[in-house]
Subunit: 208 residues, 2 copies
Amino acid sequence: VVVDLLGVLAYGELTAFNRLAVDAALAPSLTGRAALSEMAAAEIGHFQKLRAYLTSLGADPEEAMAPFVRPVDDFHDSTAPRSWLESLVKAYVGDGIAADFYREVAALLDDPTRALVLEVLSDTGHADFAVREVRAAIAEDPTVAGWLSLWARRLVGEALSQAQRVAAERQTLVELLVQDADLSAVAAVFSRILAAHAERMATLGLNA
Amino acid sequence: VVVDLLGVLAYGELTAFNRLAVDAALAPSLTGRAALSEMAAAEIGHFQKLRAYLTSLGADPEEAMAPFVRPVDDFHDSTAPRSWLESLVKAYVGDGIAADFYREVAALLDDPTRALVLEVLSDTGHADFAVREVRAAIAEDPTVAGWLSLWARRLVGEALSQAQRVAAERQTLVELLVQDADLSAVAAVFSRILAAHAERMATLGLNA
């Protein structure tokens, strides 16, 4: 189960790297392209740590990631940004939700695994840039906010639908999440994640 | 002139990052995708050092890079790999020639700038992976060698033609290269770079 969790996290980081690097081409300035590229590069550092840990557990990182290739790729294929602002919202909102989710899961893990997961999540940073750019775009043209709010809702919807697919196929992951926890505790996890998402949307100047 | 040189180097690193990250999608395995992604991530570290140094010189990194956007982009557009092996040869051969070129130029620079350029060039690494993959592909199907040799020749040809364009537009860069050096010294630089290129081609199992 730990290998499953680290596998989806590792593949998520590797893919986030590749997608952010591609999205960087949408940047209107070299400064913007550099900023998104640096966000991407941070993900590869996380990937390396997760891969090393998987190997130390005796797992094959490629095998650990394999079950999650399709759902993660499908998520990204169905949410390919068509503009620079869409790519910034996706980077900021997507990173935020993923980090919150893994932080909740980390609480259920053994000490060394939890320490690794929290370390991987801690040094994302670079988010200030996305917030600044999105807010500036909304200040310049307020109609942008409605469209980006819809975009963020689509991101969350697609993420949930892929997560459900994974949950249906990997019962053990679900059992980890609900082990010695009643359903109200699970509900509390989701409401914490959604509250944090709403806060991030407000930070961007968007409606959740 | 130093700003020009650091500008083209910085833009080259940023672009190498974005292109390698895109090429990583061609990888036949997650291990290969991760390896090329890690090569890409190393370039962004170099970019960050060059940008910080440009800023410390009082230069605007975006302005310093601007004159080189077209030639560098044109080089990459005209040499977009159509297969995983082409992308590996491009990464290995392209990185190698660029590093040799900057090393030669570094000898002409002041001490702190030279130290930075050499540092940026030193920790590329990751090349073993490309060499291993290309050699394995040739071992499996020797006809691959002829096609990849032609590909490498095209890469060198396109690189030279873009370099000539830059040279024609940025006379000061050329003057730096030939300052207090007679033409035979310049010829010696080129023959050293080409000799090193031929060695790398041999390492891959290809003809220069």
